[in-house]
């Protein structure tokens, strides 16, 4: 049933245009990096209350999607959904590409990028960041091995693929824990944050996979059986409901604790409430679910693509909301008192990103995109035809 793999030709004007566009993004990112490095972080919108801004939103979104992009591989290797085996290579490779893009942005936004290798030399094993250094390098290694087994040593695929699946769960838990284990900031102290990050990675990774597969196949004039897309749609619906569930549980547990009334009300009605309701819930959960459950839209490829776009944007909103709202909430140095000072004590932080930060973040997207474009051109990442077995029927349709 499986068709042969082949690299794309990559000679069409469209390919080169896309290549140039992504290369342009990378150059813009490089320019932004040099500019910020030369002038100090004062040229960004970040300040002493909100020290992680738009570049981190881009970076962490890419990292979250990197672990999610492995879904299609895991679906076949770990959960034996054989129809997706043909996308295993694509999936593992996409993970690597997104991981590199995300890490690049994270590294280039450091205050002292010249010292970026020091975490490899001096390690503080209590730091969630040090753990993440191991988690990211380990994940990258596993993905490369996974790819290798898919190309050459099929007998080890199951083993490595399962290890990679386990690792990506721990990896995203680690990423989420950066914002889940900080007791000093009221918003960053929830145990549900890390699992929510895992759920978000599942939705956004699948959505990005759907989009990339569809458009890559479309532009290279390869066949892609609609039923494959609908299969992924069903997985995405399930993941979306998981996200909704975790978001609700998080708010439920927090609202049960009177000490969190203030901060939770601030999240739901404060200056970042628009991002929470419109971005995290609207764009990220409600609209895609409504589209996918609609009998007409949910059963059309175009509808699934639209919903996927919403899901990717929603993941971005989720990360942005977690970071920005979490940091904006004023430090509560003296609970029960109002506090004022020249250092904005007792005030919510404000953050207005500058163009440089946007350029740096998009640079990371450009890096990931370029790696993807080059990868599918020089390696046999994609099946020549995306086929579903004859007579295969999806168990469920909207």
């Amino acid at each position: 049933m499986l068709s042969e793999y082949s690299a794309i030709e990559g000679r069409s004007p469209g390919y080169w245009k896309l290549f140039a566009a992504l290369g342009g993004l990378v150059l813009m990112g490089a320019a932004a990096f040099l500019y910020v490095e030369h002038h100090g972080h004062a040229v960004t919108g970040m300040n002493n209350q909100i020290v992680w801004g738009l570049p981190h939103v881009f970076a962490i979104s890419l990292l979250v999607m990197a672990s999610g992009a492995l879904n299609m591989g895991s679906m076949s290797t770990v959960f034996a959904v054989k129809q997706f085996e043909q996308f295993g290579r694509f999936s593992a490779f996409l993970s690597i590409a997104l991981l590199i893009g995300g890490l690049a942005v994270l590294m280039l936004d450091l205050g002292r990028p010249d010292n970026m290798l020091l975490p490899m030399v001096y390690m503080n094993f209590r730091s969630m960041f040090t753990w993440n250094v191991f988690l990211y390098t380990g994940f990258m290694t596993l993905c490369i091995l996974y790819l290798w087994t898919m190309f050459e040593y099929k007998q080890y695929k199951k083993f490595v693929g399962t290890a990679a699946f386990g690792w990506r769960l721990v990896l995203t838990t680690g990423t989420g824990s950066i914002f889940g284990v900080i007791q000093g900031r009221e918003v960053f102290g929830s145990a549900i944050t890390a699992p929510t990050f895992v759920a978000i990675s599942l939705t956004s990774g699948t959505a990005l996979g759907i989009l990339l597969l569809f458009f890559t196949f479309r532009f290279t004039r390869r066949e892609l059986d609609d039923r494959l897309i609908f299969g992924m749609r069903n997985a995405m619906i399930f993941f979306l409901m998981l996200v909704a569930y975790l978001l609700v549980v998080e708010k439920f547990t927090r609202f049960y604790d009177p000490a969190s009334y203030d901060v939770e009300m601030w999240i739901l009605t404060g200056p970042w409430a628009w991002l929470y309701w419109l971005g995290v819930w609207g764009v990220g959960v409600v609209v895609p679910l409504a589209l996918l459950f609609n009998r007409r839209i949910g059963n059309s490829v175009r509808g699934v693509l639209t919903a996927s776009g919403y899901v990717v944007a929603g993941a971005f909103c989720f990360v942005a909301h977690t970071l920005l709202a979490g940091q904006s909430y004023p430090f509560d140095l003296f609970p029960g008192y109002t506090i004022t000072s020249v250092f904005q004590d007792g005030q919510a932080g404000t953050y207005m990103p500058t163009l440089w930060e946007l350029m740096l973040g998009l640079g990371g997207v450009g890096i990931s995109g370029l790696i993807y474009l080059l990868g599918i051109r020089f390696f046999r990442m994609l099946p020549a035809r995306g086929e579903a077995p004859k007579g295969w029927e999806l168990p469920w349709n909207p």
């Binding site: 300040n47 205050g111 001096y122 094993f125 960041f129 950066i178 430090f331 008192y337 109002t338 250092f343």
Partner: protein, 249 residues
């Protein structure tokens, strides 16, 4: 496969080391006290701490703030969001407005369990033998995770390139853009046997609201007063065991 196994082992080691080091985090042996006359050393048995008597602190006095800026070459950029504050004055009002407002300086609390040190990936933030929480700026990569972790807002990123002021204090380096900095309890002065600049300025301004000393020394003024007077620390609920105590809040 070797690479992979190494990473796994590394992670196991990380967990083991994290658990082993968690309670005390003493990576260096206590230094032998040099007898040479020109050496000042951090004494391992000491625990520097501060007591701030807010009843003696008035809203119009900023002696400690300006002393800190001069002593430590802390620039003021005039950009309120990004200015560096090692120590700042804060005004408290209870939410029902039933008490008079309280004024007090807030600075790094040099916690026993400092969250900034826990999260620092390169161990640039560390606890010295005498309990000071310091930043090794040679090692700081500017990731800002410590600023996220500190509940006291005691840390600032250096957002601008700075030039040393004309009458700079040569004993304290200025800071390169992109590193994080904060109050050091004037470690360089402590090592010379002097008091921190803010404490000295407070006494000079005839307020005597800041008492500084060794918490472990039963004869020190701060030890005695903490025994006798009712004091509190900021956000004691977080379990960080700060070494800056406040009286009169």
């Amino acid at each position: 496969m070797t690479m992979d196994r190494r990473t796994v082992l590394g992670l196991g080691g990380a967990i083991a080391a994290g658990v082993a080091l968690a309670p005390g985090l003493h990576l260096f042996a206590a230094p032998a006290n040099s007898t040479s006359p020109d050496s000042g050393s951090a004494q391992p048995g000491k625990r520097w701490g501060m007591l701030i008597d807010t009843t003696r602190c008035s809203s119009d006095c900023t002696a400690c703030l300006s002393a800190c800026r001069t002593e430590n070459n802390v620039p003021l950029y005039g950009d309120p969001d990004r200015d560096i504050h090692w120590i700042r004055k804060v005004e408290l009002r209870d939410q029902n407005r039933r008490q008079l407002p309280v004024n007090l300086p807030v600075l790094c609390n040099h916690c026993e369990n400092p969250p900034c040190v826990h999260v620092c990936p390169t161990a640039a933030s560390f606890v010295r033998h005498d309990g000071l929480v310091l930043i090794d700026k040679h090692r700081c990569i500017g990731c800002r995770y410590c600023i996220i972790a500190c509940p006291y807002k005691a840390r600032s990123l250096v957002f601008y390139k700075t030039k040393p002021p004309r009458d700079a204090n040569p004993n304290v380096p200025i800071r390169a853009a992109g590193v994080v900095e904060k109050c050091t309890f004037c470690a360089h002065r402590l090592d010379e046997g002097k008091m921190p600049a803010c404490v000295e300025a407070c006494a000079k301004a005839d307020k005597n609201a800041m008492i500084f000393g060794d918490l472990n020394d039963p004869n020190s003024e701060i030890h005695q007063r903490l025994l006798k007077e009712k004091t509190q620390t900021i956000r004691a609920d977080l379990g960080l065991k700060p070494h800056v105590h406040y009286k009169g809040i």
